[in-house]
Symmetry: C2
Subunit: 766 residues, 2 copies
């Protein structure tokens, strides 16, 4: 498929209507505000192919598991993001002829996602089969200022006729998930009412009793004159207000639709109608223009903290801003019950909201661009799920410890592939690592004593029981795991998993020691509460000492897993192109027994524990593994880009950066119609800031080792560090760091320390 979006620094723009791209655009142009989100479906009826998608954060459904062959330990349910009531719908009939872009003749079509101000705009001229030609301009957003409010402005201008538009402004709660396992509908109707300009639909999930009330008010104006509704109608899960709007050639008929979307996640169930009424009253009182202005201001603040500017490459500029925009739309960090779904609010595939992606790839973005509470809430989320993770470990036969799920909504495991669900347990390490990462970046050591230590100890206990001692060899081993490289399954002694397990034990012991020294009372309280014994900590030390790391001595590299070097070793460039991507061309067994790597595995460890390995070791491993890596996970290239930057492999770094920078904008994997790859967007941000920017925090010190790809004039990024907001601008000649705040800070640029006083700029030659 050819890229069809226009390059622009601040907007995503589609010009001309091509039906085959419509579902891709529905994903790309999605809007969200952390509380809810909406695919870029048309407001008016569209009879062509479309995935109608409206999502309320944290509202999910446990769909009955579907498998070919059941394995003991599988969860019975798969928690799915719920597609919910369509609140944007406008059914428009012009002089008896429905407005439908699938059947009309369309010209001057333009769709624009304005990322700077946070709204979706669309315009077109349609000629209906009755010859009526009209221009439409539609603008909509979900509000950051009023999280439960969505607003639409829909302008119709007849170009060659007078007449009447029958406008039905509706709410439709009779929605089915595209990925329902058994084609079941997950919602039951509770109430539907319509009166005057207002309508309400309240629906409830068939399980778990989520209740969602959508209430909307619609106003229609001709030449500033309000039109009174003709009628209201309801049926189960559906309510509409119908207008007969007069149309006059050359004069604009304006429709304003405000919708309040409230759920019993946030409010008492019996108060939902009252709350929705309050919210809607407030929104209507403000009006569309003021709401839109507030949206612009909210986004200005987001961009102030998180923007990346790339000069000399509009395509790269657009790509990185799109990624930052989507990250900010998906997760705002105010609600510790929420997390970052793989598709955000742009689609419903894969279900679940939380993968290890959050800890491994998304956390750094929020650490560096948002207030400390926001990444902290990602940690609190896992702490809140600790009991479920302990239950999960018990279910799999462990006598203690916690195993966090591979995919989850509420802490319970949702996934069901044995080689992943039961074996891709390195996720537990990433959750421990996130605590380290957070404390290391923010300096908020107190979190350990507040919550972190409990998670660390339970994960450490899991690792303790998951390894086994091999008397014949005098070492601890870990069998039957799947590492980050999912193109090997059920291997023994995956180096990365052994390493992150052992590291967890090390860090837990360090954290305990630090807590004991800094807050002996709290330490003792935890020891008692966790019933932590010296037998356990002694065992951890023994495991740290005796854990087995597969190593290829003669090559000086770590071995990805036992017997990896017995494979037929080849590099990707020895493969004929017809084989790529492997996941579309090779049978699964062939992929598994090949040496080809889906995503960073040993190198993921080199990235996480970068400070533990010297450059020569990193280089040997990179040189060995990268050429075998096919990067068929969108999470792979960023790690390679960062390490390539560190090793001075400039071209490789830029190549890796490009692989995900515009993944969805260019529909690189031919699957953007299902939704955008939200978590990999954070990886692209990492490539720029930690890769090209060389940003690192070691021992409470900020380091920058930037380099700039030759293709760019300059790039600059914002980070928040210990209360200071810094703008780092890198040109081919200079690194310029501006402290935009009143807090003094020291920055190490190319390993030299520069004190940076409040509101000052330092410039260093590249």
């Amino acid at each position: 498929m050819k890229p069809y979006l226009k390059e622009h620094a601040w907007s995503i723009i589609e010009e001309g209507f091509n039906k085959t791209n419509h579902e891709i655009s529905e994903s790309v142009f999605s809007i969200g505000n952390g509380h809810m989100g909406q695919r870029a479906n048309f407001e008016e009826t569209y009879s062509g192919s479309s995935l109608q998608g409206s999502y309320m954060a944290g509202v999910y459904y446990p769909d009955k598991t579907r498998v070919g062959w059941w394995k003991n330990g599988y969860p019975e349910y798969f928690a799915k993001v719920l597609n919910a009531t369509n609140w944007i719908g406008l059914n428009i009939v012009i002089n008896g002829e429905p407005l439908d872009l699938h059947t009309a003749t369309v010209k001057n079509f333009k769709r624009e996602l304005n990322m700077k101000e946070g709204y979706l705009y669309r315009t077109f001229i349609a000629t209906l089969s009755n010859g009526n030609e009209l221009k439409v301009e539609a603008t909509r957003f979900v509000s950051f200022a009023m999280k439960e409010i969505g607003a639409i402005e829909y302008l119709i201008t007849p170009l060659n006729f007078d007449g009447t538009a029958e406008i039905s402004s509706y709410l439709d709660g009779d929605i089915i998930n595209s990925d329902a396992n058994y084609d079941e509908k997950f919602w039951t109707g509770i109430t539907q009412t319509a009166e005057g300009n207002r309508a309400e639909v309240t629906v409830k999930t068939k399980k778990l009793d989520f209740v969602y009330t959508a209430m909307k008010e619609t106003h229609v104006y001709l030449d500033s004159k309000a039109i009174t509704p003709r009628s209201v109608n309801t049926r189960e899960k559906y309510a509409e207000v119908v207008f007969d709007a007069p149309l006059k050639e050359g004069v604009t008929t304006a429709i304003y639709k405000y919708a309040a979307n409230v759920t019993n996640r946030d409010h008492q169930t019996d108060a939902l109608t009252t709350v929705a009424t309050d919210r809607l009253n407030a929104a209507v009182a403000l009006g569309f223009a003021e709401l839109k202005d507030a949206q612009k201001q909210a986004w200005a603040k987001k961009w102030q903290d998180s923007d990346i500017v790339i000069e000399g490459d509009v395509s790269a500029q657009q790509g990185i801003r799109f990624n930052i925009f989507q990250m900010n739309q998906t997760y705002t960090g105010e609600d510790a019950r929420l997390n970052i779904g793989p598709k955000g609010f742009t689609g419903e595939k894969y279900g679940g909201s939380t993968y290890w992606d959050t800890e491994a790839y998304c956390l750094p973005f929020y650490l560096a661009t948002a207030d400390q509470e926001i990444p902290r809430n990602l940690l609190v989320y896992r702490h809140n799920h600790l009991e479920k993770a302990k239950e999960n470990a018990a279910k799999l036969g462990f006598t203690k410890g916690a195993l966090y799920p591979m995919v989850t909504m509420n802490g319970e495991e949702s996934h069901n592939e044995w080689e992943i669900t039961f074996e891709e347990i390195h996720r537990n390490g990433a959750i421990a690592y996130a605590i380290y990462n957070y404390v290391n970046y923010t300096g908020d050591q107190a979190y350990i004593g507040e919550r972190g230590i409990e998670v660390l100890v339970e994960i450490a206990r899991f690792w303790e029981e998951r390894v086994h001692f091999v008397p014949r060899k005098g070492v601890y081993m870990m069998h039957g795991v799947t590492g980050p490289n999912e193109y090997e399954n059920n291997v023994n002694n995956n180096w990365y998993t052994n390493r992150i397990a052992s590291w967890t034990l090390e860090y837990t012991l360090e954290a305990l020691a630090h807590l004991k020294a800094s807050d002996p009372d709290r330490y003792q309280t935890w020891i008692n509460q966790l019933n932590l014994t010296t037998d356990e900590t002694t065992k951890w030390k023994e495991i740290i000492e005796k854990i087995y790391y597969p190593t290829v001595e003669d090559l000086g590299v770590f071995e990805q897993a036992d017997n990896f070097l017995d494979k037929e070793i080849m590099t990707v460039d020895q493969l004929d192109d017809k084989h790529l991507p492997l996941n579309q061309n090779w049978s699964w067994d062939r992929i598994l027994r090949s040496c080809f790597i889906k995503q960073a595995d040993v190198l993921q460890g080199m990235y996480f524990l970068n400070h533990k390995y010297d450059l020569a070791t990193i280089k040997r491993n990179f040189d060995f593994y990268e050429p075998m890596t096919v990067h068929e996970s969108s999470l792979s290239p960023c790690v390679h880009a960062i390490l390539a930057c560190q090793l001075g492999y400039k071209e490789k770094a830029y190549e890796m950066y490009l692989r995900t920078a515009r993944l969805d904008l260019d529909n690189y994997n031919n699957d953007t119609e299902d939704g955008c790859h939200i978590t990999s967007m954070a990886g692209t941000w990492m490539s720029v800031v930690e890769g090209f920017g060389g940003m690192k925090v070691i021992d409470n010190q900020l380091y920058l080792n930037p380099f700039i790809p030759g293709q760019w004039t300059s790039f600059s990024f914002k980070i928040v560090f210990r209360g200071a907001r810094l703008m780092i601008r890198v040109t081919q000649d200079n690194v310029e760091v501006t402290n935009e705040t009143n807090v003094d800070v020291t920055v190490n640029i190319h390993n030299e320390a520069y004190p940076l006083t409040a509101n000052s700029t330092t410039s260093v030659a590249q």
Copy 2:
């Protein structure tokens, strides 16, 4: 569950009606004749829990695959045994009250599977809620003399009333498979007719166009007086003839139902009605008594060739006869398009008809007890599927060779678990081994030149490409396989798989050499047709020489797979009972990384290639692996029983024998309601003949090394060897071999040769 069946040497008997056992009995009391089969459902309506099951051999349906997560290479369809038109149904209403054992009061209930004569008999006295008490006796069989005919005698005797029975004798083709993936019905109706005493229902599968015509004729007599039908009715897929039969206290009303069951597998589609009419005419002309007598004679011949007599243990006697009975009911070997399904005609679970069970466990039974053409047809079946097996290999990315499917009906793969479908490739070795086994037993070396060599070469080619050379170690390895022990998945260098692969290459080279020497023309024709090059055969020799066999040098045992000895090594007796069976108590990952073995793996190799290993090696491996084996496959104990006999481990041998001898009769695995474990029944036969009997054929010589369990007075078995039928009787003191035929033969008893002339008996001290 408690065993509830009576012990009897020749019959399976259930006394008293217990609804909770009904579905188990429906499986156990099933009847079949190789062409078709029928679960032991009641003829009259039963409103309780029941799996109605009627199966026509070779009639299957490609049900759309259902998986949780798709893997490249999975087949789109799973070929399922089709549950088909119910031809036994009699709906009986006594004075307005339906006869239904679920609601009636039942006494004197008895169900008997008469194995000696091959019929199912049932009797009971039922009291209906209207107080009417009646005695019923029902007898039915599917005929061996007329394969397409089923016949029922159903006798009703009123005990305390006169009145009328409304008897609907029906055919019902509106059947659904209990295991349909998407609750779809697989049959469409074609025609249904009813006239006079006859009715016909013709149905067609929604895919593949199998057409099945069931035609039946019903006669009802009171005191030898024929009753004329009252009416006939049809609706889609259904036809009935209804009688109003007068009932007289103490007088028997007799119903005879004859059904012809013909399909377009055997006849032209447009001739089905004609053929069914002919068959039915012939059956009706013979009448029930004569048909039943012919059945008795057919079974007498079966028992003459294949009976095993155990004296001093009725339970064991019943168990082994049940197994032999079921083997003979399931497969008669006249039709090379058929094979041996895991449930035979006793249920529809698992679909498919052919697993490696056929070659590994069933073939020896037919080799030793049936005419040579019958086991030969099992080989021809695979030869006929060779093109599909080549397609299967190509689909998985191989440039040549054949990979036979894990589960199949028509040669196409039906299974979809990547670790089995793609990796449990040792099945290919068993298919090669079956050729060796057949030629070795029968001496029919000509089969190699006729068909066998083609299969051997294509399998050898597969192995050639499936191994890879490891330059660092100078060996060939095979990665990513699942061995016979399915409690390890995706391992490297499974010893058994490497060994059977290498053995295939050895045997293929031997077979080629033999063919070249014995029939140079035919040899050259095959070389040309197969385009076999010396490059290939040279490569095979190199692989034989350099293939890697994992070995534990210090213990003197083969290692089941790479890293097996790195596991936590334990024996089953160290496990608390609460953990067993593992497959019900442990999560799948825990099973996989444990050392516990589901079924013989290294020892399967010691069994197949017994002549290649000395007793000390077999003993070391048995002593090492057997204690770790949980035998959670019903195919496991037989191999251990046979090796235990060879090693003189008498108690272990008997223990292993007992584990499957009455598997279904005692519902040992709590799953007999789904159907009987047909293929493991052949394993029990092997335990007796090859284990206790110590029967082996080496270099065209028959060897017997019998020992008798202390619990038995004697056991005797029949085998057919090179045209002679032998009866071997083993007592605590003697081995007595009787040659029942006119062919001279030599038998080696305890490794001493005894010439056995026609119709003579030799007795040797034990």
